[in-house]
């Protein structure tokens, strides 16, 4: 029984990891690619850690596997947030199908000194690239 659970979690986790990589390769801009890599990648590794816990079935291994899953769930959104903020401030062009940019609207009404310095130099060229 535990063999079946282990095998299912292994193959399922690897499939989710492959889906993350396919999304990373095929999706249209940085922010959407990040969404695929972070969420599907975390789920894939979490399933594989669950497979390790089911395979060994010892208290120490299960505890370490749960600690690993918890660590990944805590750190993945932090890393994705930092990359996304850096990409936005760098002025990486968004996908042409993007319909909402709340940070830009927010920055227009509540100017943040650090961001508006970047937006002042970036605004015109960014608008041109996104308007394609």
């Amino acid at each position: 029984m535990s063999d079946i659970i282990t095998a299912a979690c292994l193959v399922g986790g690897a499939l989710f990891a492959l889906a993350a990589a396919i999304g990373l390769l095929r999706l249209p801009d940085v922010f959407i690619r990040m969404h695929a890599a972070t969420k599907a990648g975390t789920l894939g590794v979490g399933l594989i850690m669950a497979a390790v816990a089911a395979h060994f079935g010892e208290t120490g291994v299960i505890t370490r596997a749960i600690a690993g899953i918890a660590f990944l769930i805590i750190t993945a959104p932090v890393a994705a947030h930092l990359i996304g903020r850096a990409a936005y401030r760098e002025g990486v062009p968004m996908w042409t199908g993007t319909v909402l940019d709340e940070w830009r609207q927010h920055a227009e009404t509540h100017p943040d000194p650090e961001l508006s310095a970047a937006a002042a130099s970036e605004g015109a060229s960014n608008m041109g690239r996104n308007g394609r």
Binding site: G13, A20, A21, G68, F71, I83
Partner: protein
């Protein structure tokens, strides 16, 4: 000399072999994204996914070899991956402040 049971002992062995192949394909795709970019942030996301896939491979290898110590390696690799991603993201965010004359030569 290769042991006859290095690959695929029973159901779990076959599942581990399939998982290795799928993760290998995923790593190839992540490498392609790192190679073609186009922006620095794309490459950072690619490196992040690559290290997460390495953590997954450590987990599969722990099952394959029946050696729980690889789980510790996976956890410490996840820690290093997080620190590396944070460092690269901070670097990407601060690069623009370097005065180069032309804004876009550094940022791309």
């Amino acid at each position: 000399m290769i042991e006859p049971d290095v690959f695929a002992t029973g159901l779990v062995g076959w599942a581990a072999l399939i998982a290795f192949l799928l993760l290998l394909a995923a790593m190839v795709l992540a490498f392609v994204r790192i190679a073609i970019g186009p922006s620095f942030a794309d490459r950072v996301v690619g490196v992040d996914l690559l290290t997460i896939l390495l953590v997954a491979i450590c987990g599969v290898y722990a099952i394959k070899t029946d050696e729980a110590a690889f789980l510790d390696i996976a956890i410490s690799l996840a820690l290093v991956a997080f620190l590396g991603t944070v460092a690269l993201a901070r670097y990407a965010g601060r690069r623009r402040s370097i005065p180069t004359g032309d804004d876009h030569t550094v940022a791309r």
